[in-house]
Symmetry: C3
Subunit: 344 residues, 3 copies
C-alpha cells in the first residue's frame, strides 16, 4: 500500500466497476461484486488487492500470488491459480494503469491563490485555479480552469496555459502557449532564448529570438526539461508527447504527436520529428534534420542525417540498427583475431 | 510579425538608418528613405519587411520573395529580383541580427524592487536595478546599474554582479563575481560546491571548496547551466563566452574568451580552454587537460588528452577529425566485407 | 587566502591541534606549538600556511615551497626542505580535507524562519532549523534539528528530512524521506513522477507512481540532480553516496552505500547498483540491470548488461576495459592499414 503521508487512496471498488473503467471484462466464474481495496504487484498483493500480469516472465509469480484479483490477457487465463478472481483485458498494463488511477487519483491542492504568491492584476485566472505559495504570475498571462501552478513557479508575461494543467514547483515559463491537460514537472524552463548567435570578427552578435513555444494537449514533460523558443518560427511540441528529465530541445524544433524523448537527449535547432518518434536516452540529434514518423533512435546514438519514417537507428554516427549491430560484431571479431594472433 | 503578447516592436526605420546601425550600405538604386516596419524571413516577408540572404541555398527564395528590402553580400546583388531594395553587408546574418535588435530590443521590466522580493539591508543595489517578484538578495551582495534579477532568483551572500546584466528567473548564484552585460538564463546554478572529495577507508571526506566563479563581460549563459566554484583556485569564464543549456562546468575550469559550449556538454575539473574553443553538444572533456585556442570538438566526443590550438577533434576517445573519419570508414568497410563473406 | 566576502576563516590552530583533528602526527623535529593561520597550495603558501603533498608529481613544488608547514606521507619526509614543519599522515589529502574543514567550516545562517518563507502550520520544524527567504514548507513535512532549507526551496507535503541537512536554494522535494547530514545542492528535484507510461492504441496512459525516494545519511547530491520516485517500490539512495551535477536517476533505481555518480550520467528505471560503484560522467545505464559492488564504469559508456562485482567497464556498448581497449587499438590499426594501402 502506498505511503499515506504522500498518497490518498480511494475505494473500495467492485471488480465490475473496475472492469468497466479499465476496458476489461470480468472472467466467467469470477464474482463481479468482489470488493477490491488496493493495487499491488503479484508478489506483494494480499486478498483484497488487485494485481496484473503483462510480461510472461512473471507467470511463476502469478502461480504463487496471494492477490484477490488479477488483470491478465485472454491467453493467460488458464495459467491463473484456482480461486483467483480475474479481469481479462487485451492490454493488461494499460488496464492496470487505469485502475491504479482510480485508487490513486492525483492529489489536488485547494483552489485559490496562496498569500505569498504574486499575481499581476492583469493576469486572467480560470475557475478553480490553484496558485501555490511563492508562485509568480506576470502581466497578461492566462491560466485555464482547474490548472495548478506549483510553489515558486514563474509564469512569464503573456503566457497562456490551458485547462487542467499541472505546472510543477520551480518551473519557469515564458513566451509560450500551452494546451490542456499537460503536466510539466519541477524545474523545467520553457520559452527562454535559443542559442541564436551570429559570428562577427568583432565578437558574437545575439540574434533576437522572436518565436514562441507552442505545446499541444496531454503532454507529460519531465523535470528540468529545457525547451527554447523559436528564433522566428515557433518551437512546437505536438499533443501526447512524453519527454523525460533533463532533455534539451533547441529553437524551432518541431515534435509531432506522441513522440517520446528519454532523459538527457538533445535535439538541435530546427530539427523536425514526425509523429510517434522514440528518441532514446542521451541521444543527440543534429540540427535541421527530418526524422520520419515512427522512427526509433537507440540510446546514446548521434543522428547526423535525415531518418526515414519507421526506421530504427543506432550508433554514433547513427546507422540502421542492423548495420550498427553488424559493425559491433565485426569490431569484436577483429579485436579477438588480433588477440589470437598476438597469442594473448 | 512577432506575437505582440510577447514582443514589442519599435520603428519604423528608414533603410538608411538601418544600414548605419548594421554596418551595411544602401545599394545603388535603392531609396535610402524607404520605411521598413518589421523583419521577416524571405518566404514570409511582405512589402514593408526587411529580410536577409546569407546561405546561398536560399537563392530561390530570394528570387521569389515579396519582401520590401533584403540584406545580402555584394556577390549576391545581381541575383536579387528587380525592384527589391537592397542593403549590402559583408556578413548579412550579423547585419540582420543588429537590425532585428533595433526592431525588437529586449524588453525591460520597470526598475525597482518587487514587494515580494527579499533584499537584505546590506545589499548594494545600483541605479535603475529591477528586482522581480520573489527574488532573494542576500547579505553583502552588489547588483550593478540597470541589472535585472528575475523572479524567484537567489543571489547569495557577497555575490557581485556588474551593470546591465540579465539574471533569469529561478537562477541561483553564490560565491561568484560577474562582469557586465552578461545574460544568465533561467534555472542556472553558479558557484555551488564542486565535486571535492578525498577517499578515506572510513568513508568520503569532503574537501572545502574555497574558490569562486569569476565571469567576464558579455557572456550568454543558457538555462540550467551548472558552474561549480573553484576548490582553491577559481573557476573562470572569459568574456564573450556562449554556453548553451544543461552544460556542466567543474571546479577550477578556465575558459578563455569567446568559447562556445553546446548543450549537455561536460567539462571536468581543472581543465583549461584557450580562446574561441568550440565544444559540441554532449561532448565530455576529462579533467586537468589543456585545450588550445581555436580548437573545435565535434558533438558527443570524449576528450581524454590535451588538444593543440586550432585542432579539430572527433570521436570517443577523441582523435583528429581526419583520423576519426578514416576509422569510421574503415569500420563500415569491414562490416560490409563480413556481410559479403556471409552472403547476407 | 579564501575571499572573505564568501568564506569566514577560523583559527589560528597549533600544529598539534591540527594533527590530532586530522589523524596525523607531528614529525620529529617539528615544533608542535607552531601556529598556523590558513591552508594554501604548495606554490602559493607563505610562512603561516599549511599545505599538503599527495601526488608525487608535486615533489618539485615541495622542494620550493615557502609554506610554514606541510602534510605528507612518511615516505616523502626525506624530500621536504630543511626547516619546513611537517605533519605525517597515511593519506595526506584526507588529512588536508579535515584541516581545511577546521579553518573553513561551512557557514550557517542564523536559525529561524525568514519572514518571506511560507511554512504550513502542520509542518514540524526541529531545533535550530533555518528556513531561508521564500522557501515553502508544505503540510505535514518534518525538518530535522539544525537543518537548513535554502532560499526559494520547496519541501512538498509529507516530506521528512533528518537532522543537520543542507537543502540548497531552489531545490524541490516531494514524496521523499531523507536521512541525516545530507547536502543537496541548488536546483535538484527529488521525488517527482517517474517516466511511467502504458502504451495504448488510443494514446499513452499514465501509470500512477506510488513509491517514494528514500535517501540514507551523509550523501552529497549535486546541483540539478533529478531523482524520480518509485513506481510502486521505492527509489533508494544508500548512505554516503556522492552524486555530481545534472545526473538522472530513474524510478525504482537502488544505489547501495558509497556510490559515486559523475555529472550528466543517467541510470534508467529499476536498475540496482551495489556498494561503492563508480559511474563516470555521461554514462548511460539501461533499465532493470544489476551492477555489482565495486564495479567501475568509464565515462560515456553505455551499459546494456549486468556487470559483475568489481568489474571495470568501458565503451558503448560497454565491455570489460581490457576488451574495450583492445577494440580501440584494433580499429586504429585497421584505419592505419587502410591509409597505407591507399597510399594516403
Amino acid at each position: 500500500m502506498a505511503d499515506p503521508r504522500f498518497f490518498t487512496r480511494r475505494g473500495p471498488f467492485t471488480l465490475e466497476g473496475l472492469a468497466s473503467s479499465a476496458g476489461a471484462r470480468v472472467a466467467t466464474g469470477t464474482d463481479p461484486n468482489l470488493e477490491i481495496v488496493d493495487v499491488a504487484p503479484l508478489d506483494a498483493a494480499t486478498g483484497h488487492d488487485i494485481s496484473f500480469l503483462d510480461n510472461p516472465k512473471y507467470l511463476p509469480a502469478l502461480a504463487a500470488t496471494k492477490a484477490g484479483a488479477c488483470i491478465l490477457s485472454e491467453k493467460h487465463v488458464p495459467r491463473a491459480p484456482a480461486g483467483l478472481a480475474l479481469l481479462v483485458a487485451p492490454a493488461p498494463y494499460v488496464a492496470y494503469a487505469r485502475i491504479a488511477q482510480l485508487f490513486y487519483p492525483p492529489s489536488r491542492p485547494r483552489p485559490g491563490v496562496a498569500p505569498s504568491a504574486a499575481v499581476d492584476a492583469s493576469a486572467k485566472l480560470g475557475k478553480d485555479v490553484a496558485i501555490q505559495a511563492g508562485a509568480v504570475i506576470e502581466a497578461g498571462s492566462e491560466i485555464g480552469d482547474r490548472t495548478i501552478i506549483g510553489a515558486n513557479a514563474v509564469i512569464g508575461a503573456g503566457v497562456v496555459i490551458g485547462a487542467d494543467c499541472r505546472i510543477g514547483a520551480g518551473v519557469v515559463l515564458s513566451h509560450c502557449l500551452i494546451g490542456q491537460r499537460n503536466t510539466i514537472h519541477p524545474g523545467s524552463c520553457i520559452g527562454q532564448d535559443g542559442f541564436g548567435v551570429a559570428l562577427d570578427p568583432k565578437g558574437y552578435v545575439k540574434v533576437p529570438q522572436l518565436g514562441r513555444v507552442i505545446i499541444g494537449d496531454d503532454c507529460e514533460i519531465g523535470a528540468n526539461v529545457m525547451i527554447d523558443r523559436g528564433a522566428g518560427p515557433d518551437t512546437v511540441i505536438g499533443s501526447s508527447c512524453w519527454i523525460d528529465n533533463l532533455v534539451q530541445i533547441g529553437h524551432n524544433v518541431r515534435l509531432g504527436k506522441g513522440c517520446v524523448v528519454v532523459a538527457l537527449a538533445g535535439i538541435s535547432g530546427s530539427t523536425q520529428l514526425g509523429d510517434y518518434v522514440v528518441v532514446g536516452g542521451q541521444v543527440g540529434i543534429a540540427g535541421h534534420l527530418k526524422i520520419g514518423s515512427g522512427a526509433q533512435i537507440a540510446a546514446q546514438s548521434g543522428v547526423m542525417r535525415d531518418v526515414p519514417p519507421g526506421m530504427k537507428m543506432g550508433g554514433a554516427p547513427a546507422l540502421p540498427v542492423r548495420e550498427w549491430h553488424r559493425q559491433t560484431v565485426a569490431i569484436a571479431k577483429l579485436a579477438a583475431k588480433t588477440k589470437d594472433e598476438a597469442g594473448q
